[in-house]
């Protein structure tokens, strides 16, 4: 699902390129691949003796076919109506429907519904791609992956503090030293409250035995 990300990042190409606004074809491809994998997994499933009918393969077959149909539907929709490159659009709600229900005026109020500050200007000029976007995302992903790797050897206290520090940094904090203090405070507070208070087991790692409240 992350492959189409690259088309978005390099969309500085001239607006006449065919795939502009059609990056979602990657999503359709992903959905299709998922559907195929579901059907393959269903076909190769070991069905135990005596399973009733309809058996364990019945529902996955429906879901797999459903995904394939949706992939085609999305691909057709994207090819026929490419989307304007622009800020991420709201997805949870049908803004048109809510506007109808609430008798909302299209000028000022819809701006809040769609959460989009430049709704009016968007249709005219495609917004320039943001360069800053990709690096913080990679930093957060790396922070989480690093956290998972060092959690057991180093223990909760240090790895959670590191996670906090890197994520805060990725999101634009400018006070690295002060952040170290906050990060350590945060991870020790969690360790105290949940490990000592609620009896949760958090790995103590290299600090085993250093403080009585860690274990």
């Amino acid at each position: 699902m992350s492959a189409p990300e690259t088309t978005r990042g390099t969309s500085a190409a001239p607006a006449t390129r065919w795939w502009n606004g059609r990056g979602e074809l990657g999503v359709a491809l992903g959905v299709a691949v998922l559907g195929v994998l579901m059907l393959l997994g269903t076909a190769t499933m070991d069905v135990p003796e005596g399973a009733g009918t309809p058996g364990p393969q019945f529902f996955p077959t429906i879901v797999g076919c459903f995904m394939l149909v949706l992939a085609v539907a999305l691909a057709v929709g994207v090819i026929r109506h490419p989307r304007r490159p622009g800020p991420d659009e709201p997805s949870e709600l049908n803004a048109d429907m809510l506007a109808d229900l609430g008798n909302v005026e299209s000028t000022t109020e819809l701006r809040i519904v769609s959460g989009d500050p430049d709704l009016a200007s968007r249709s005219a000029t495609p917004t320039a791609p943001r360069a800053a976007g990709v690096r913080p995302v990679l930093m957060v992903v790396a922070a989480l992956a690093g956290f998972i790797l060092i959690l057991d050897p180093l223990g909760w206290l240090l790895s959670a503090a590191a996670l906090f520090w890197v994520v805060a940094r990725a999101l634009g904090s400018t006070r690295p030293l002060f952040d170290i203090a906050i990060a350590l405070l945060m991870s020790s507070a969690v360790q105290l409250a949940f490990s000592a208070g609620l009896g949760l087991t958090l790995p103590s790692g290299i600090l085993t035995g250093a403080f009585s409240w860690i274990n």
């Binding site: 699902m1 999503v27 019945f58 991420d88 949870e92 109808d100 609430g102 809040i112 945060m186 609620l198």
Partner: protein, 505 residues
Amino acid sequence: MDQLTHLLEGFQGALTPINLLWLLIGAVLGTAVGVLPGLGSAMAVALLLPVTFSLDPTGAFIMFASIYFGGLFGDSTAGILLNTPGNSSAIATTFEGHRMALSGRAAKALGTSAIGAFIGGTIATTLVVFFSPYLVTLATLFGPAEYFALAVFAFVAISAVVAESVVRGLIALGLGLCLALVGIDSQSGAERFTLGLPAFFDGISIIVITVGLLAIGEVLHVAHRSGADQPASRVVAAGSPFLNWREFRTALPAFLRGTAFGVPFGAIPVGGSEVPTFLAYGTEKKLAQRRADPDFGVRGAIQGVAGPEAAGNATAGTAMGALLALGLPTSATAAMMLAAFQQYGMQPGPLLFERSADLVWPLLASLFIGLVILLIINLPFAAVWAKLLLVPKHYLYAGITVFAALGVYAIASSTTDLWLLLGIGLLGFAMRVYSIPLAPVLIAAILGPLAETTLRQALAVSEGDPAILVSSPITVVLYIVMGLAVAASIVQQLRARRRRATSSA
């Protein structure tokens, strides 16, 4: 009036010091996650699920329920003061609420929204208490075919009617169904999509799915947008939050109208409180136009805040009723509470009232106590809660990341779950970038197993004849209502498309 006796006994159960403590913690946490942007009560409940393993179930559910209500109390604060609603349930309140704030009546708007939330929640909870026996009787008529119809109704409503685009809504639904299929099939014992890994035999935890999609996905999304958001200017909440008698008399009809919209919508699965809050706002707007109200849409009218807020919390009340009596989650938070019931080995539905009466009635009683506590901590102190908005964004989201990791690790102390969390977080990020809604994934992941089990049971009984799915009046009515809702949605989309075509020409 059995219900009154039960409810009084429930109050006895709820009014113990420890339960009151959980209630208070839930109310504070709920209000906080409501006020803070990017957090919601569904995520708060999901994060608390693993750490409440060791609690007594009654205490845990009392806390979850007050988080649910608290989230709806707190959500309007950011909308009113900053004009940026943190949760979609507060959008409708924001229109008039922010206008009131700009004209120097921010505290009044916050007070109105707290009172509205209280009135809506209280009326809806009272209705649930008195109608729950009838709901339970209704639910005993439900067999596999009826429950399958109910699940399909929930799927269609959440993905096709509420989501922005039908295809994207259905894709989200399919993703949720795929995630729910991983694991050992409970009926036949067949391994499905586990890749042979024992870690997947029990399926993918709904906690990992929720926290990954909502928390990690949101953090990545915020990281992606960082720098693009303009800092919003905050209005200071000056003045008294209390309404005088004249203002209260103006607002009361709007409170009641809003509640009337919220109550039915809480019991049907259209994704929570957005639809009724907008209906309430639209009604208040039309009424203001009819009586030529000079304030509405200019200085901000108190009714425009009162109606949507009452509607929002009324849905939470009836959603609890639908969850307890039918086992049907009608919002993401209710879905998390259903997962909590399953964690404690309980199945909400008609049998819950018989088998776990000692849990159900204290829980219902605690809803009333919780609403009073929430009113007390919200009405006079709304301006204090607004201070939470001063927490810098990078600390807020760093904290969310740490708590997400904590909550998921706490499920089984397994790093496999954490890798899964990262993967699903990336999925949630990609879904946000490509405008695929998240709520259908959660509903499908939770109701998917129910849909599959009931479908297979029904077809096994009928020996493969699909006619059994539409063989009872209840199923026929459900499918007809579903058809009408889809038709209405199609008409509405066509109208919107035509309007856009004429406006751009």
